[in-house]
């Protein structure tokens, strides 16, 4: 019976994937702000998130900013969690990177360009993946979309990660959105 009864049965949401014209599967992950933000770790920050967080001082991690988010699919359903690390350290060189952990599917490790593009988004690439993403390569676009900004500069918005992954690690994949005009039309 222990063979036939699955002890752990992870909940799965249907993936919303579209096929890019020149190859690669395009999928959009998003974090709604501020509700999906779990952690903002930054030295010297006045309003810690979550309240009561005791983040080390700048002498330990310098300019490192660590964030945790819940990650939603295109239909606004939570499908995973993610961490984002950003640093302007001269020793390591500045970097921005994501780890997106989708429990039922696997994890992706994404490196972003530090400088944003002329359009205001950042391009990046898939450095490594696990399980479902293990043999994939591809690109990603990170964009911040402001939805509401009130008089106190409180911003409601969302971060979107638009990935275009294709089989065989190392293949060049055109950044999502550069090839498919219909990508924005889907939203």
């Amino acid at each position: 019976m222990t063979y036939s009864v699955q002890v752990v049965d992870l909940h799965r949401e249907a993936s919303h994937i579209s096929v890019q014209a020149n190859g690669g599967n395009v999928e959009t992950f998003r974090a709604e702000l501020p509700r999906d933000r779990i952690l903002v770790g930054l030295a010297g920050q006045e309003n810690a998130l979550p309240a009561g967080l005791k983040w080390p001082g700048a002498d330990v991690f310098g300019s490192l900013q660590a964030e945790l988010f819940k990650i939603r699919d295109r239909n606004d359903v939570v499908i995973g969690v993610a961490s984002r690390l950003a640093s302007a350290s001269e020793e390591t060189g500045p970097f921005i990177e994501w780890v997106v952990h989708l429990p039922a599917r696997g994890t992706v490790y994404l490196q972003m360009d530090v400088a944003p593009s002329a359009e205001g988004h950042r391009n990046g690439s898939l450095t490594a993946g696990t399980r479902e993403f293990e043999t994939l390569g591809g690109s990603v676009r990170e964009q911040f979309i402001t939805v509401i900004e009130d008089e106190d500069s409180n911003v409601d918005g969302r971060i979107e990660l638009i990935t275009a992954f294709v089989g065989t690690l190392g293949d060049e994949v055109v950044p999502p959105g550069d090839e498919v005009g219909s990508l924005d039309d889907e939203e």
Binding site: I38, V60, V81, S83, T130
Partner: protein
């Protein structure tokens, strides 16, 4: 009637023998020696607290015996993440000084098979080492020994607690030698691929509070190019 009693008694004894066989499975022993112990590559060794209340942040679905930390952290109650836990912790070097930041995502694995003494967890570390760079560590852990030797004895104990000495290598893959897979991200670690193992040392556990005195260890091998730049 006597046949029914014999049948029920036989079934109960059979079930008890089956459970005992699983629980005391002599072939289920986990490693206490790291598979990386024989490697000539340089290592980085980190230790960290495995007591959720001593980490920077710990969260889960919010209904386990382990309290989330800090108190008002968002809980992972949504169906897709309800089996996932996140810990953000300081990583210390062998001298006990802070050497890095670790973010650990852990999700119960669907490959869990209690009959084979496998209580598996898929976990991923996102690590930042100041002055060095960033790493991703992907692994499968087996918590069977931990459950059998720490958690279950604590529940059986009249004081709802366990005290003792427990040490195991938790990593069981995905590497062929039972090692974790490491991918370098930025800084000196950019582009590297190597291996790692994680261990757990427990000294006290409460059946009502969870880990009371517990440390984790993470050993990561460094290829020559990365270790030479330290």
């Amino acid at each position: 009637m006597k046949y029914a009693i014999a049948l029920v008694t036989g079934m109960l004894i059979g079930a008890a023998l089956f459970v005992a066989g699983m629980y005391f499975n002599p072939f289920a022993e986990q490693l206490t020696v790291s598979p990386l112990a024989v490697s000539n590559d340089e290592h980085i060794n980190f230790t960290y607290t495995a007591v959720p209340g001593e980490t920077l942040l710990y969260t889960d679905h919010g209904e386990s015996i382990i309290k989330t930390h800090p108190d008002r952290v968002a809980e992972l109650w949504e169906p897709a993440v309800v089996d996932t836990r996140i810990a953000v912790t300081l990583l210390n070097n062998s001298r006990g000084q802070v050497a890095g930041l670790g973010i650990k995502f852990s999700t119960d694995s669907e490959q869990t098979a209690i009959i084979n003494s496998k209580v598996l967890v898929n976990s991923t570390w996102h690590i930042y080492v100041p002055g060095q760079g960033t790493l991703l560590v992907d692994q499968i852990e087996n918590y069977w020994s931990y459950l059998r030797e720490v958690v279950v004895p604590a529940r059986w104990s009249s004081g709802d607690a366990w005290k003792g000495a427990f040490f195991r290598i938790m990593t069981r893959g995905p590497g062929a030698l039972g090692t974790a897979r490491v991918t370098g991200g930025n800084g000196n670690f950019a582009g590297i691929s190597s291996e790692a193992v994680e261990s757990l040392t427990a000294r006290a556990y409460s059946a009502t509070l969870g880990p009371v005195s517990m440390d984790g260890g993470l050993t990561i091998t460094l290829p020559q190019a990365a270790s030479g730049s330290e």
